[in-house]
């Protein structure tokens, strides 16, 4: 079966298809608004009559390639090509502004490769274990996990904690606009049926990141100059990568784990990996948020590791891990393959084929981005008064393209102006994004848990082992992030030991 998979994978046709898929994925990923979910749906109908192997090669190529493409526009233009690339903008864009766009994209590409490969290793090795553990997550566990995610607002807020909280709460508020997923009640829609579907996340992101950056650039005096003075050479040192080995592993595990939890999504995985990097990398050469290379590597690794993660529940149990794998499941059925708990034992050659294709697609994506890496950064040498209108058009087309709805263009413009004003007042835009991604989920999961608990919510939360662990982790995290408390603890431990260092700490 493994042999059969290899035989089918290593044909010229399969290799060409997976590379073509990868190229398509990179393009889709780099273009804001065009999502991999939409592309997969199109590819599934395109490949309906094809042999299963060929169809899977093309689709897997596109799926993996898109994750590498998202970073390109995130680094160059501050527009996340894919929603999951939004964490890449935090440090990737400042790097590009310093002229290091080449290095940022190069690192992103390398990080993506590592992320994909580690994700595939986990998929191949321990899929059933991870899948069964993921099943243990019910509404309680999801709620506390999301609550833990919300603590990221404080650690990512940068300068002012209060401003970070305000922005985070604003994001949470905006996320609940629309039809309430529990009872179907309209919330803050003012009778507008377009608002019933909620604010389109892609349009919100493009507005907050890309459009607001455009307005900031356009408000500068020297509009007829390029935004970046010079483009430095791409530097990727192996020693640099080796230094970040633990960061890469940590980010992969976060990506795989969150990818394997159905319904959480890649955007949260990348934000969580970024947040974890910020907590664990003590002395980055350049501070996070100002162009730290670690801030590009962590989310890009997690983003790609998510693919392996999202495929785990799909292949091991027949349940989709995200919206793309949901479409893949449909594609399986079209080709007469039974997804489900028996898939791995009844179709082992197909399982291995997917793992091998994912691996080849990751390698193909690496080299395809590398081919273009000399050219991409040159975009930034175009004069701002010529480049900015193009970015504007990308923002408009991108926000329209996701759902083909003109209303989303206005959503994007509104958030562009909002983002611009908030950034002028030094509110962290990243906090709004986190609030927006997690707000609605926190609301639904909490209410679901309350409905299930029937008045015993607290008892249930404390007696379910995973939820108890999560609660303890949240409390610990909050206490540790309190600077004064941390110093006191250090002082206390130091005085117990009786070291003279205690005085220094004080």
């Amino acid at each position: 079966m493994f042999i059969e998979a290899i035989q089918n994978a290593l044909t010229v046709k399969s290799l060409l298809l997976v590379s073509a898929g990868s190229l398509l994925g990179i393009t889709i990923g780099a273009l804001p608004g065009l999502t991999i979910t939409m592309t997969t749906a199109l590819l599934v109908s395109l490949t309906y009559g094809w042999p299963t192997w060929d169809a899977l090669a093309l689709i897997m190529g596109a799926y993996v390639g898109s994750m590498s493409g998202g970073a390109i526009s995130a680094v160059l233009l501050n527009i996340p090509g894919m929603p999951s690339a939004c964490a890449t903008t935090f440090d990737g864009y400042p790097m590009a502004q310093r002229g290091e766009a080449g290095t940022a994209i190069g690192m992103a590409r390398t990080a993506s490769l590592f992320g994909s490969l580690i994700g595939m290793v986990f998929l191949a090795g321990v899929a059933p274990i991870v899948a069964n553990f993921a099943l243990k997550f019910g509404p309680y566990e999801y709620f506390y996990l999301i609550l833990m995610g919300l603590t990221m607002i404080s650690s990512l807020s940068g300068g002012s904690f209060i401003k970070g909280m305000i922005a985070g709460l604003l994001g949470m508020f905006l996320s609940i606009v629309g039809m309430d997923p529990i009872w179907g009640t309209a919330r803050y829609t003012f009778g507008n049926f377009q608002l019933m579907r909620g604010l389109n996340f892609v349009a919100v992101l493009i507005g907050l990141m890309g459009m607001s950056e455009l307005l900031i650039q356009a408000s500068k005096k020297h509009i007829d100059m390029p935004m970046v003075k010079e483009i430095k050479k791409e530097v990727i040192k192996l020693s640099e990568l080796w230094r970040m080995k633990w960061l890469i592993l940590q980010s992969s595990l976060i990506g795989i784990w969150i990818g394997a939890l159905p319904g959480i999504g890649q955007t949260i995985a990348t934000l969580a990996a970024y947040d974890a990097a910020k907590r664990t990398v003590k002395n980055p050469k350049i501070p996070f948020g100002q162009g730290a290379i670690e801030g590009v590597v962590a989310p890009e690794v997690a983003d790609n590791a998510c693919i392996g993660g999202a495929l785990i529940p799909m292949l091991a149990l027949g349940i989709p891990g995200d919206s793309t794998t949901a479409i893949l499941l449909g594609a399986f059925m079209m080709h007469g393959i039974r997804p489900g708990p028996l898939f791995m034992s009844s179709e082992p050659s197909l399982f291995w084929f997917i793992v091998i294709m994912g691996t080849i697609a990751a390698i193909a994506a690496y080299f395809l981005v590398r081919l273009g890496s000399k050219v991409f950064p040159k975009i930034l040498l175009v004069k701002a008064n010529l480049l900015l209108p193009v970015i504007g058009i990308l923002c408009v087309v991108g926000s329209y393209a996701t759902e083909g709805n003109v209303f989303d263009i206005f959503v994007m413009l509104f958030f562009g102006v909002l983002g611009f004003l908030l950034r002028l007042m030094r509110f962290p835009v990243s906090s709004i994004v986190i609030g927006f991604v997690l707000g609605q989920m926190a609301d639904s999961e909490l209410r679901r848990a309350l409905m299930l608990a029937q008045g015993k919510f607290i008892q249930q939360s404390l007696t379910r082992p995973i939820s108890l662990i999560l609660i303890i982790a949240i409390i610990a995290q909050l206490l540790l992030s309190n600077k004064r408390l941390r110093e006191r603890m250090k002082f206390a431990t130091a005085s117990i030991i009786g070291s003279k260092k205690a005085e220094n700490i004080r």
Partner: protein, 329 residues
């Protein structure tokens, strides 16, 4: 004279509209996101329909608010047959009673009903209930203790629960999720006790041995699933209302010229008779249907009056069906 001229112009263009239709690409709008049942069916329908109608078509998804956004979009377009909607059952009164939009069956012409998906009762294989009777007896004895997941407001699983509650006197603790996938996952993880999702959604876990199916919302056992009882036979009180389930229809805006409607009906008739279509629908574990024109309209109206009144009487609807002249069943 001027009026006569104007009238002839209008009539002339109307005839021209019908006679050489289609002269430009037809937009097939799916008011749901990519990857769902409706989208899958529409994607299989589109190429066959394109051949049958003898023109070009393109498919567009516009999801949101349980299909209300895309439905409003189709209604905002001219009634010229160039915007065709492939929709699930929501325009049949559900939008109205759930207060999502005012649009209902009076605003659309039902060209054809193309497929039908039957719901099922599924529990985890470790659950203590061996059959539907045991589950429902316990739900009667301890009302509101058995948790049942469903995929959001006014979706199939919730309506099925209301049907059971109405005709057996059972009472469930209904937990809404954000889609069919999450409901199946929660059942698999034993976070909820049961679900009444589409057979298509529960089937893989049943075949894989993780789920036990306690019944289907039909009067006869489903072909190939003879071991799973039909609920109409277990609970005779439910029999007149079964089979109940999710259907997918092709619709255009009301007021579309009758010649165009006829052309669309003919094209649908050709598609629905093709083996390629019926095979696909069967592979997605739905039943192929082929109700055209008046038959489709009657089916939708009957379904609408049963379901919207059921939702209203269960307290799940925000508006009364009477407000929209939906007759009581």
């Amino acid at each position: 004279m001027l009026i006569a001229f104007g009238l002839s112009l209008v009539l002339g263009s109307a005839v021209a509209l019908g006679a050489d239709y289609p002269t430009k690409p037809i937009e097939i709008l799916v008011p749901w996101a990519q990857g769902g049942t409706t989208d899958n069916m529409a994607r299989a329908f589109q190429p066959l329909f394109e051949k049958a109608i003898g023109g070009t078509t393109f498919l567009k998804n516009m999801g949101g608010a349980s299909g209300a956004v895309g439905t409003e979009y189709v209604y905002s377009k001219p009634a010229d047959g160039y915007t065709v909607m492939v929709s699930s059952y929501q325009p049949a009164g559900i939008f109205q009673v759930m207060n999502l939009t005012k649009l209902g069956l009076d605003d659309f012409e039902t060209i054809a009903i193309v497929s039908f998906g039957v719901p099922s009762i599924a529990v985890h294989k470790d659950a203590r209930w061996k059959n539907a009777q045991e589950l429902i007896d316990e739900a009667k004895k301890n009302p509101g203790k058995i948790s049942v997941g469903y995929s959001g407001p006014a979706t199939m699983g919730q309506i099925c629960a209301f049907i059971i509650e109405k005709y057996t006197g059972a009472k469930f603790n209904m937990i809404p999720f954000s889609g069919g996938g999450p409901v199946v996952t929660a059942t698999l993880g034993k976070h909820i006790d049961a679900n009444f999702q589409a057979l298509a959604e529960n089937m893989d876990q049943y075949l894989g041995g993780n789920f036990r199916l306690l019944g289907t919302f039909s009067n006869e056992p489903i072909k190939g699933l003879e071991g799973v009882p039909a609920l109409g036979q277990v609970f005779p009180a439910m029999k007149p209302y079964l089979p109940w389930g999710q259907w997918i229809a092709v619709m255009v805006k009301k007021g579309t010229p009758s010649e165009i409607v006829k052309k669309l009906q003919d094209a649908a008739r050709i598609v629905l008779a093709q083996k390629e279509w019926t095979d696909y629908v069967t592979s997605m574990r739905n039943d192929p249907m082929a109700l055209i024109g008046d038959a489709a309209e009657k089916y939708a109206r009957d379904w609408s009056s049963f379901t919207s009144w059921l939702l209203f009487e269960a307290g799940a609807a925000q508006k009364s069906p009477a407000e929209f002249n939906i007759p009581k069943p």
